[in-house]
């Protein structure tokens, strides 16, 4: 069992927190893990991605070969498309539908959606609406997205939830609760819409 995931977004959106929670869950399950992150210059409002690989077998490379990614998990729809060359034929795109427009050249959003919808397996999720629905701040969008990926992750919801609790343990009880609501909302959405 393996899962190669590309996490994508714009610097500052919080993709590394998603990776940390999945990593914690993988650790709890006794899986192997490798996760290549981007630090430094690209953090400043630029495109960021992280290759996250979890597997029951040892993993060689920190980078995922092209055409082998199981899930592209993106906090921004345009950024999701950037990593399509890495997606496996039966891979899935799970992305927020909320655009982050900090460039003049941002394409027509309908064209972006259409390009995502051309992939047989995709989940487009309005993270703004979902966080609002569960009364969580926009910063919890990353946990909505993570929740939506759980059906494809190969790790049970409860394990991921426990990992989230552990990762956020140093923050307040309220922060943990909010993030769990966001995670659950994403999970329920994916189950209905996959």
């Amino acid at each position: 069992m393996k899962n190669d995931i590309i996490l994508a977004g714009v610097g500052g959106q919080g993709i590394l927190s998603i990776a940390t929670v999945i990593g914690q869950a993988a650790l709890a399950e006794g899986w192997y893990l490798k996760q290549a992150e981007v630090h430094g210059m690209s953090q400043r409002g630029g495109e960021v991605q992280s290759h996250l690989r979890i597997s029951t077998e040892p993993i060689w490379s920190d980078l995922i070969p092209k055409g082998q990614t199981d899930i592209i998990l993106s906090l921004e729809p345009l950024e999701a498309l950037r990593y399509v060359p890495w997606l496996a034929e039966n891979g899935c795109i799970v992305t927020s539908s909320v655009p982050f427009r900090n460039i003049d050249t941002y394409p027509d959003i309908e064209e972006v959606y259409a390009a995502i919808k051309r992939h047989p397996r995709h989940i487009l999720i309005d993270t703004d609406a979902l966080v609002k629905e569960v009364n969580a701040p926009v910063q919890a969008s990353n946990m909505v997205l993570l929740g939506a990926a759980i059906p494809m992750l190969g790790i049970e919801f409860d394990i991921v939830k426990a990992a989230l609790e552990k990762v956020f343990a140093r923050k307040s009880e309220a922060v943990v609760e909010t993030n769990i609501r966001a995670l659950t909302a994403g999970y329920e959405y994916a189950k209905k819409n996959l």
Partner: protein, 532 residues
């Protein structure tokens, strides 16, 4: 114990567990997290009152050269020290580094150079393995996070045994990738302070240095023997030994992931100098074709040409079998044809990094650009930091960016040649790193330059580390000899735009050396403080 650690963190934990007494470093991607991890561990330790451990010195140094020298001083006193930097930091500390191989060390000294192939956050792709060869010392290049941890501990022992510094070379993917690492439960105790037995060893007068250098040269066969016998380099004879792959550090993983070995012999290299015996064995096994997989520049590929018979074909980055520049990936080995061509049909615009909304550098550039336009040929010499992004849209403000501190001295040289206005833009941390000496040059010839220090009270680009000159910049500039009335301070905010422009104009029109400090706290560090 098992932890999920970044490569950088694995090195840091390895150093702590090896009985580290001090880490000396200047922030630089991708090396910053090594020191930050040790600082975090230390800050938690200090909260435990009953903790009897000796503290580990872990304050940031002003630059890589001061870091390297302080570390050498710590090892002189018999303790173990770690020096960390990005690859270009090796250039800054090269004098101290190369000569530390001649003085030798008393306590263990490990130097970590984090290379950045593909220039994710750097201005070049230089390969630090050259420095180890240059200084004639051993180099370790872990291929995964566990090795990074284990090899750091080993490196300290090796350094003390051989009495030379050990260079550990990692690359961005190693430094910034996480994996499970098994660590020891009890760290080694720190060394007791003990002074060198041979006092002359650290005095590099020619008479003594010649003796030391001869010693270092005579040790070279021993370094090779250790590369052959310590187990860091492993030769595995394949079922088809006519083919071999020499895979160094993290490139070994990509090669394995790609599954291209298929019966070829494999020489995994994680320690230098190259293991001559193992290479001879590969030749004795009848190798005819060697693929060299190495991250960075073709160091091993070139060396091998002088080590194997001429009929053996050597392929790699020099022959075009692997890309000459950029970091490797499994795809480089799989070959382009078998890689999925599933490109997105939509043409995707790039999203380059930019300065944060609300950042003081932005207001500084707005003012500077407006004033610069009033002159026919104003030239703005930039430097290394977040403000380098002023080269991009919408500012297009700077005309150069070379290396730490070059803004000040390039502006001076251009002014010497008659360029006016010649303006340097440099951050506070870069200024204390390498700009101060250049400013002294300016003052000594009263060069007609304006040095604009964009002071955000932190080392911003690397994530907000302490900046060595915070609270001292005006006094430093005046002590260097800049006249008091030409050390100006402005607050870069939109509401102060007219005042800022006026100050810049006045100092451009003053035909001597002047400094303008545009001071406003980095909004990222400000936000972080607000959250606490």
């Amino acid at each position: 114990m098992k932890h999920i650690l970044l490569g950088d963190e694995a090195i840091a934990q390895g150093a702590i567990d090896a009985g580290l007494s001090g880490v000396y470093a200047y922030p630089g991607t991708p090396s910053t997290e090594i020191t930050e991890y040790i600082q975090l561990v230390e800050s938690r330790k200090s909260k435990v009152e009953s903790c009897e451990d000796n503290p580990i010195f872990c304050r940031w140094a002003t630059n890589e050269k001061t870091a390297m020298e302080a570390a050498l001083g710590m090892t002189y006193a018999g303790k173990r020290a770690l020096v960390c930097m990005k690859h270009v930091g090796m250039n800054v500390c090269a004098d101290a580094f190369v000569n530390s191989a001649i003085t030798g060390v008393n306590g263990g000294l490990v130097v970590v150079a984090a290379d950045d192939p593909s220039m994710h956050s750097s201005q070049n792709e230089q390969d630090s393995r050259f420095y180890a060869k240059f200084a004639l010392i051993p180099c370790l290049e872990p291929s995964n996070q566990q090795e990074a941890y284990d090899m750091t501990r080993m490196a300290f022992d090796l350094s003390e045994k051989l009495r030379v510094p050990i260079l550990m070379r990692v690359t961005t993917r190693m430094a910034h990738s996480r994996a499970m690492v098994e660590t020891v439960d009890t760290p080694k105790a720190q060394n007791m302070r003990h002074l060198p037995e041979n006092a002359q060893h650290f005095i590099l007068l020619p008479a003594f240095a010649k003796r030391n250098y001869a010693d270092l040269l005579s040790e070279q066969p021993e370094f090779v023997r250790l590369s052959e016998e310590l187990g860091n380099n492993v030769y595995t004879r394949g079922t088809d030994p006519k083919r071999a792959i020499v895979a160094c550090g993290i490139a070994h993983n990509y090669m394995q992931e790609a599954g291209i070995a298929q019966g070829a012999s494999i020489l995994k290299v994680t320690q230098y100098p190259l293991p001559v015996k193992l290479i001879n064995q590969m030749v004795a096994d009848g190798v005819e074709d060697i693929l060299v997989a190495e991250e960075g520049q073709p160091v091993v590929e070139e060396l091998l040409r002088g080590m194997v018979p001429s009929h053996v074909r050597i392929r790699g980055r020099l022959t075009g079998d692997l890309p000459r520049m950029g970091e490797l990936s499994p795809d480089c080995f799989i070959g382009v044809e078998s890689v999925s061509k599933a490109e997105s049909e939509l043409k995707l615009p790039g999203r380059p990094p930019s300065m944060c909304q609300g950042c003081g550098h932005r207001d500084m550039y707005t003012a500077l650009n407006e004033v610069a336009r009033e002159y026919k040929e104003a030239r703005i010499f930039g430097d290394i930091g977040c403000y380098t992004l002023g080269a991009l849209s919408p500012f297009h403000a700077i005309h150069s960016c070379v290396e730490m501190g070059a803004s000040v001295t390039m502006a001076k040289g251009a002014a010497d040649a008659g360029q006016h206005p010649a303006i340097a833009v440099i951050g506070d941390s870069t200024f204390t790193h390498s700009g101060m000496t250049g400013l002294l040059d300016c003052v000594n010839s009263n060069a007609d330059v304006v040095v604009l220090i964009s002071d955000n009270l932190t080392t911003g680009m690397t994530g907000g580390q302490d900046s060595a000159g915070t609270g001292k910049l005006e006094r430093i500039c005046m002590a260097m000899g800049v006249e008091e009335e030409h050390v100006r301070v402005v607050v870069p905010l939109a509401k102060n735009m007219e005042e800022m422009k006026q100050v810049i104009r006045e100092e451009i029109n003053y035909h001597g050396t002047s400094v303008i400090i545009a001071r406003r706290e980095c909004i990222q560090t400000l936000k972080r403080k607000a959250r606490k």
